[in-house]
């Protein structure tokens, strides 16, 4: 042992060389193993693309893509099958719109309030509440929408059915509030203090500083948070499956049962659909649409932040 590493020998001994080689080999093996695990994320993406597009292409050998994208009736589980995706798309858009109508104003107001007005103590109370709200499983929100929010809304809104887009959308909005609040707060927090101080120095009130200086400076981040919220709303599944119904109706009436893209996938999955049947392939066609919609939104949000970020260095 001692002879091997002797600092007096000019040439490494044979033993030393082979040890060094084996050590280098071990290091390289570990590096490659780690690299392979890191590459797994790319394999996952490829897996999603291949499994989605494979079945979707098979679907389009049986159903014309023109019918899929232009017809307004969706009845793949009936005897007379129609494959127009529009009822699912409008339903998804309707619920997402209601959710964002709650989540964006509320989330943005909370973000501005927390970063510009609230004292540190208030913030320490509110932030955990928001984190808890964000951590509640979606199936719980679905229960909440169906068994509590809908009956209450039925008191005020005549003609509101048990399954409806309104209640699902409102509850989904509350679910997304923490996400909008936290992303917007990050954007607002990145606005340099000097800008605020400049405005205060000119005699602006807190409100004016917040709305006319801070928000415009953080706008790129705020827009991105809104787009990410939309992506989240479009992909949300359990709330709409439980509370919005399973009737693919081509309507924008928030009081009646509808079926979103995600709820359709759940509906088919609950039945025992045989592999390689047309019904089986419809969920992949719908899933592909869902994937590319949300993917485009996520990419857009990240691009938007990079492109329109105000730099103050």
């Amino acid at each position: 042992m001692a002879e091997d590493v002797s600092p007096f020998s000019h040439y490494p001994s044979r033993n030393d060389m082979s040890r060094r080689a084996s050590r280098r080999f071990k290091e390289e093996a570990i590096r490659i193993t780690l690299l392979v695990t890191a590459t797994l994320s790319i394999v996952t993406t490829l897996g999603i693309l291949v499994s989605l597009t494979g079945e979707t292409l098979l679907f389009f050998t049986e159903v014309s893509i023109v019918e899929f994208l232009t017809e307004t009736e969706w009845t793949p589980l009936f005897l007379v099958k129609k494959f127009g995706i529009w009822p699912l798309v409008t339903a998804t858009a309707l619920v997402a719109f209601i959710a964002l109508a709650v989540a964006i104003p509320a989330g943005l107001l909370i973000a501005i309030y927390l970063s510009e007005f609230a004292s540190p103590r208030v913030r320490d109370v509110i932030k955990p509440v928001l984190e808890v709200l964000a951590g509640v499983p979606t199936v719980v929100y679905g229960y909440f929408a169906l068994t509590l929010v809908t009956p209450i809304l039925q008191e005020f809104i005549p003609g509101l059915r048990i399954f409806n887009a309104l209640s699902a959308g409102l509850v989904m909005g509350i679910m997304i509030v923490p996400m909008v609040a936290s992303l917007s707060e990050d954007a607002i927090g990145a606005v340099p203090q000097a800008l605020r101080e400049g405005a205060y120095g000119l005699g602006a009130t807190r409100f004016e500083v917040a709305l006319q200086v801070v928000v415009p400076a953080a706008l790129s981040g705020i827009v991105a948070s809104a787009v990410l919220a939309l992506s989240r709303a479009v992909g949300e599944t359990m709330i709409v499956s439980i509370a919005a119904g399973q009737n693919p109706t081509f309507t924008l009436d928030p009081r009646v049962p509808i079926e979103t893209m995600t709820a359709y996938i759940v509906q088919v999955s609950l039945g025992d659909t045989p592999y390689a049947s047309l019904e089986y392939r419809t969920i992949f066609a719908v899933g592909t649409m869902l994937f590319f919609l949300t993917f485009a939104m996520n990419i857009f949000a990240h691009w938007f932040v990079r492109r329109f970020r105000e730099e103050y260095d």
């Binding site: 050590r23 071990k26 590096r31 780690l34 695990t37 890191a38 590459t39 797994l40 994320s41 790319i42 996952t44 993406t45 897996g47 999603i48 499994s51 989605l52 079945e55 104003p105 509320a106 107001l109 909370i110 309030y113 927390l114 509440v129 951590g135 509640v136 499983p137 979606t138 199936v139 719980v140 679905g142 229960y143 909440f144 068994t147 509350i174 509030v177 923490p178 005699g203 009130t205 409100f207 004016e208 709305l211 992506s231 599944t237 359990m238 499956s241 439980i242 995600t262 996938i265 759940v266 999955s269 609950l270 899933g287 869902l290 994937f291 949300t294 993917f295 996520n298 990419i299 990240h302």
Partner: protein, 298 residues
């Protein structure tokens, strides 16, 4: 001259501070912000109170030791609890080592080239993919191609992929928080890259990585949609004994009960929700505790 006075006068009116109205606006805005915060708090309180009231009377020994049933008074969460435990064990066994190894590669080994950036962008995008799309991936790849069937194992693999980005991101942050001086000290003593990572970086990053893993587990326990998509059962009157057995989990059991018409089942669902929330609260408290410990250490 006259024009100048005109400007002065106009300027005077434009500069009128009108402080009262501006303060009112400011107060109004604060009130609005607090109202929104209140909306969140009230929702949370109402939700909890409602679930507690609804589930009252349904908690007994029988609820934990029975399988699901057509009769609400005989139904329980035995299969769901066991299924959740079983699935989560496999999920964490797969996701945590792979996640940490990926994070180590990206933080300690990867050079800043296009391939590394591609992996990073890819992980960010994966975090934004709707969970139900992972369900479709699992259905096609694990259930069909790998012929795992609609089993615990297929569910675990799907969930592992779903929480992998969360674990990678958290682990990378934990590794980044280890001061470079630790590594330099190790290198100076002649340690190799891997020896440094194993004996210095990983031990110091461990609490942070554990926190991330626990939060990821909390996320996976509450997920429903991908497991429904791969075909986990909604009615399971048996315990899964083999990784290739069919199974159900707690959120699916809750979903099943919510979907039934009778209000007794809704009350059962509320009881199931309480169990689910208690599990999540325990996990999150553990994560907060670990985070606190980490903070005191540095």
């Amino acid at each position: 001259m006259a024009e100048e006075t005109g400007t002065m006068e106009r300027g005077k009116s434009a500069f009128a501070p009108n402080m009262q109205w501006r303060r009112v606006k400011s107060h109004f805005f604060v009130a609005l912000g607090m109202l929104c915060v209140l909306l969140g708090i009230v929702t949370l309180v109402v939700l909890l109170v409602d679930v507690i009231l609804q589930s009252a009377g349904w908690f007994d020994w029988q609820f934990f030791t029975s399988f699901d049933s057509r009769f609400p008074e005989r139904a329980g969460i035995k299969a769901a609890l066991f299924g959740t435990l079983y699935m989560m064990a496999f999920t964490m066994l797969m996701a945590v080592p792979i996640g940490i190894m990926s994070a180590v590669y990206l933080e300690e080994y990867a050079s800043d080239n296009w391939f590394t950036q591609f992996i990073q962008i890819n992980i960010a995008n994966l975090a934004g993919v709707p969970s139900i799309v992972y369900g479709l991936l699992g259905l096609q790849v694990f259930v069909r191609w790998m012929e795992m069937g609609r089993s615990v194992l297929a569910g675990s693999c799907t969930m592992a992929l779903l929480i992998l980005p969360v674990i990678i991101v958290a682990s990378r942050e934990a590794i980044r928080a280890v001061p470079p001086s630790m590594r330099e000290a190790s290198f100076a003593l002649g340690a190799s890259k891997w020896e440094t990572v194993r004996s210095h970086v990983l031990p110091y990053a461990l609490p942070g990585m554990l926190t991330g893993a626990i939060l990821a587990a909390a996320r996976a326990i509450g997920e429903t949609a991908p497991l429904i998509t791969i075909g986990a059962l909604t009615f399971v009157p048996f315990l899964p004994e083999h990784p290739l057995d069919r199974f159900t989990v707690l959120p699916i059991q809750i979903f099943n009960w919510v979907s039934r018409a009778q209000s007794e089942f809704h009350e059962l669902a509320a009881a199931g929700i309480i169990v689910l929330l208690v599990v999540l609260i325990v996990l999150n408290s553990a994560a907060i505790y670990l985070r606190q410990r980490l903070r005191t250490r540095y």
